[in-house]
Point group: none
Chain length 413, copies 2
C-alpha cells in the first residue's frame, strides 16, 4: 500500500517548528510494511489544502494527515477532508463527553470552541485521544483511506500507536514486516566503532546496519525484513550476536531504553540505593534517575550543592581542600560522593563537580572540565573528563558518563 503523509499548519510552512511528525509516522508505517512515498506540507488554507489532499488521494492508497484538529478557527483539516468526500460534520456526543471530562479532570473551564473538536465527518471511524482533546478520524471512500491525526507530537504518537496501527493491521494485515533493533553504545566513537564492524557493514544485505551518532552515544540500528516478525527477529538476533561478540562492553541498552533505565534495573535487582551530590549538573543526574517509574524504590535523594558552603556543610567537603584546590578537583568530587552516601544512607553515592561554562574557567581548569566520583562499598572511583559543547550539552554528557560509571561500578559488585 502506497502512503502519503500530509502535515498541515502554517507554522511548518513558515519554518517556525521542525516537522518531527512526518519522520515518526514514516518510520512507524515503514516498520509495518507500508510504503511512504510522499510527504507533503501545506498551510491552513482551504483551497491549497484541498488540492494537496485530492492529489495525495490520487497517487496514494492511504493519506494520513497530522495537524489542524484544534479548537481554533485556523483548524480546518477535518472540514476540508469531509468536504472532499462530500460528508457533513455532526456533533459526536461521545467525543464531546470525553472533552468535557478532560476539562473536569484538570479542573478547568471548557471553552465553547472546544465543541468544534467533537464535530466528526459522517461515517468516520473515531480515534480516541488519550493525550489531549482532539479525536482523530478515519474516513473511507471507495477504497481510499483518509486519516486525520492531531498535530501535537505527544497526541499524534499516542493515537498512532494505540489506534491507527491496530486499525491498519485489522484492515489490511501486514504482508511483510520490517523490524529494527537499536543497540545503544557509549564510550566509543563512530569511526572506531565502524572499524570494529566494517566487514559486517560491507557485507550487509538483510539485516542492514546503520551507525547513527546521538547525544547519548553512537547507536547501531539493525533492520531486517521478513514475512513474519519472528523470522525478522531471528535474522536480527544472529547479527546482534556477532556485534556483541566484538562490542559488548560498549552496549548498554537496546531500542528506546535510556542509561537511567538500565542503571535503575541494576539497582532494583541488586536491591541497592543511590544518592547524588551535584554541582555543575544542578540536579540533572537525579532528575534523569527519577524519570524512571518506580525509581522511588532506589533513589534516596540528592544534594545540589551549588555553593562551596553547601559542599562543606551538607556534604562534609573539607574547607581546606576547597580553599587549596578549589571546588573543581578530584578530592572534592570524591568527598561529595562519599558525603552524600553517608548522609542519606545510600549504598552508592555519586559526586559531580565541574565547569559547565561559559564562565568560570581558567587556564588550568577549562570549560568542560568535570570530575565525577562514584562511592560505595567497593571504594571510591573518580574520573576526570573534559567535555565539549555548550552548557546544556556539557551537563547532559556529564550525567550520561556518570550513569555509565555507576553501571560499571554495580557490574563489578
Amino acid at each position: 500500500m502506497i502512503v502519503e503523509i500530509v502535515t498541515t499548519g502554517s507554522e511548518l510552512l513558515l519554518g517556525q517548528i521542525i516537522n518531527t511528525n512526518s519522520a515518526y509516522m514514516a518510520a512507524g508505517l515503514n516498520a509495518i510494511g507500508f510504503d511512504v512515498v510522499y510527504q507533503t506540507t501545506v498551510g491552513d488554507n482551504r483551497e491549497r489544502m484541498r488540492a494537496v489532499l485530492e492529489q495525495a488521494l490520487s497517487r496514494a492508497d492511504i493519506v494520513i494527515t497530522s495537524g489542524g484538529l484544534g479548537p481554533t478557527q485556523g483548524d480546518i483539516t477535518k472540514e476540508v477532508c469531509a468536504g472532499i468526500f462530500g460528508r457533513k460534520l455532526y456533533l459526536h456526543e461521545e467525543s464531546l463527553e470525553r472533552i468535557k471530562a478532560h476539562f473536569r479532570h484538570v479542573q478547568k473551564e471548557m471553552a465553547d470552541n472546544n465543541i468544534r473538536q467533537a464535530m466528526i465527518p459522517e461515517g468516520a471511524v473515531v480515534f480516541k485521544n488519550y493525550a489531549g482533546t482532539a479525536p482523530g478520524v478515519a474516513l473511507e471512500d471507495n477504497g481510499r483511506l483518509l486519516v486525520n491525526l492531531p498535530g501535537p507530537p505527544s497526541e499524534m504518537k499516542d493515537m498512532f500507536e494505540r489506534s491507527l496501527k491496530p486499525y491498519l493491521e485489522e484492515k489490511y494485515g501486514f504482508d511483510s514486516v520490517i523490524v529494527s533493533r537499536v543497540l545503544d553504545t557509549f564510550g566509543i566513537g563512530e569511526s572506531s566503532l565502524e572499524t570494529l564492524i566494517r566487514d559486517l557493514i560491507l557485507a550487509q544485505q538483510n539485516p542492514t546496519l546503520a551507525l547513527l551518532v546521538r547525544p547519548s552515544g553512537v547507536i547501531i540500528r539493525i533492520t531486517a525484513k521478513a514475512p513474519s516478525k519472528q523470522e525478522a527477529d531471528e535474522l536480527i538476533a544472529q547479527m546482534e550476536k556477532e556485534i556483541r561478540a566484538r562490542l559488548d562492553k560498549y552496549i548498554y541498552a537496546v531500542d528506546d531504553e535510556d542509561m537511567e533505565d538500565i542503571v535503575g534495573r541494576q539497582l532494583l535487582q541488586r536491591q541497592l540505593t543511590i544518592a547524588c551530590a551535584e554541582s555543575c549538573t544542578g540536579g540533572l543526574l537525579t532528575s534523569r534517575l527519577t524519570d524512571v517509574p518506580g525509581s522511588s524504590a532506589y533513589v534516596k535523594g540528592a544534594i545540589v550543592s551549588y555553593t562551596n558552603e553547601m559542599k562543606h556543610r551538607e556534604l562534609g567537603v573539607s574547607e581546606e581542600v576547597l580553599a587549596s584546590q578549589g571546588a573543581v578537583c578530584e578530592a572534592v568530587a570524591a568527598a561529595m560522593a562519599e558525603g552524600v552516601a553517608l548522609k542519606t544512607g545510600a549504598d552508592i553515592g555519586v559526586g559531580i563537580t565541574g565547569i559547565a561554562g561559559p564562565g568560570g574557567a581558567s587556564d588550568e581548569k577549562p570549560v568542560g572540565l568535570v570530575y565525577i566520583a562514584v562511592a560505595g562499598r567497593e571504594g571510591t572511583i573518580v574520573k576526570k573528563n573534559i567535555f565539549t559543547g555548550r552548557r546544556k550539552q556539557i551537563k547532559y554528557k556529564t550525567t550520561q558518563t556518570a550513569l555509565d560509571m555507576v553501571r560499571h561500578y554495580i557490574g563489578k559488585l
Copy 2:
C-alpha cells in the same frame, strides 16, 4: 513570489532522519519576503522525483531542492532537474578543481565517483560549496527558477546564506521583509486565550496572529510584512500593545527566552537567591534554573528529598504531618519550601511534592496531583495542581508552573 521546497532522499521518506532543512529554508525565505506555500519530500526515484518537481514548477515561481547532489548512483536530483528543462550535463572544470582541492586538504584520495558532483546542467549558475564537495546550481527556464542545494544541513545552510540569498536578492530584490515576534504565555489554555483576542484574530491582516501550543505554554506569534524591518517592527509593536492590554499577566517572555531565563534575570536584578526542595520533580527544577549561564550567582542549591526521611531530617518537615496527611499535601510542600530556604539561607525557597505516576496514586490523590509552594519574606504560597500526561510531562509542567509562581512572587516583592 511563491516558493516550493522539495527535499529528496529515501532516509527522509523512511523516517530515519528528521527534516530540519525544510524548516531552515522556509524560515530564511519567509524572512526575506518569499512565500513558501508547499513543502514536499520525495525519494531517490526518477519518475516520482520528476513528477513532483514538474508539479512544483507548475504551482510555484521558485522551486528549491535539497539533497541528492552526492557522488553515489542514488544521487539523481541534478540529472532529473536538467532533464525537466531539457539541459545536458557537462563537466564543470572549476567545480572539479575545488573538489580535488578539498580532498587534498583533508588528505584523502578522491574517488572517481566524486567527478559526478562536478557535472553541471548547461546554462546553470553554479554555487560554490564551502562546507563540502557538491556544488549547488540554479537553473532558469522561461521565468521559472529551479535551485538545487546539497542535503547535509551544514552544507545547505552555508550555501543558502552565502550564495542563494544574495542570488535571490540580486534577481528579485527584496521588496519586503517579514518579521515575527513571539509572545510566550503561561497559565491560560489555547481556547480561552483565543476567546480573549478572537476579534484581533478575525480582523488580522498585517500583522497576522497565530496561536501555537507548546509544552511551555501557548505562544502567540505576531508576523508582520513591510518594506523595511523598522516598519514591520512598528506594526508588531502596535499589535503587541493591544494584546498585552488584555493578556499581560500571562505573557512571561518574548521569542526564544525560557521561564528560567526570566526568573534568573528577576533574581539577579533584585539580588535575591533561591533554593529548591524537590520531591516528584527529582531535581529538574534546579537543573532548569542552572541551565542559565551565571546562575551560580543566585542559585544556592537544592535538596531532592525523595524519601519521607529526607523530608523530615533535611528539611524539617514534621513527622506527624507526614504520618497523618501523607507526603503529598499542602502542608508538606509549604514546610519543604520554608525548610530549604532556612537551611540554605536563600531568600526564596520552592517546595514541590506530588505524584508523577504511573504508580503511587490513590482515589483522593490521583497521578498528576502536585503541590507547589514558594516561601520568602512575603510569606508562603501553595498551589494545588492536577497535571496530565506521562511522568516526564508531569515533571516538566510542574517545573514550568513553579517557575511561573516564583516569577509572580518576585513581581509582588
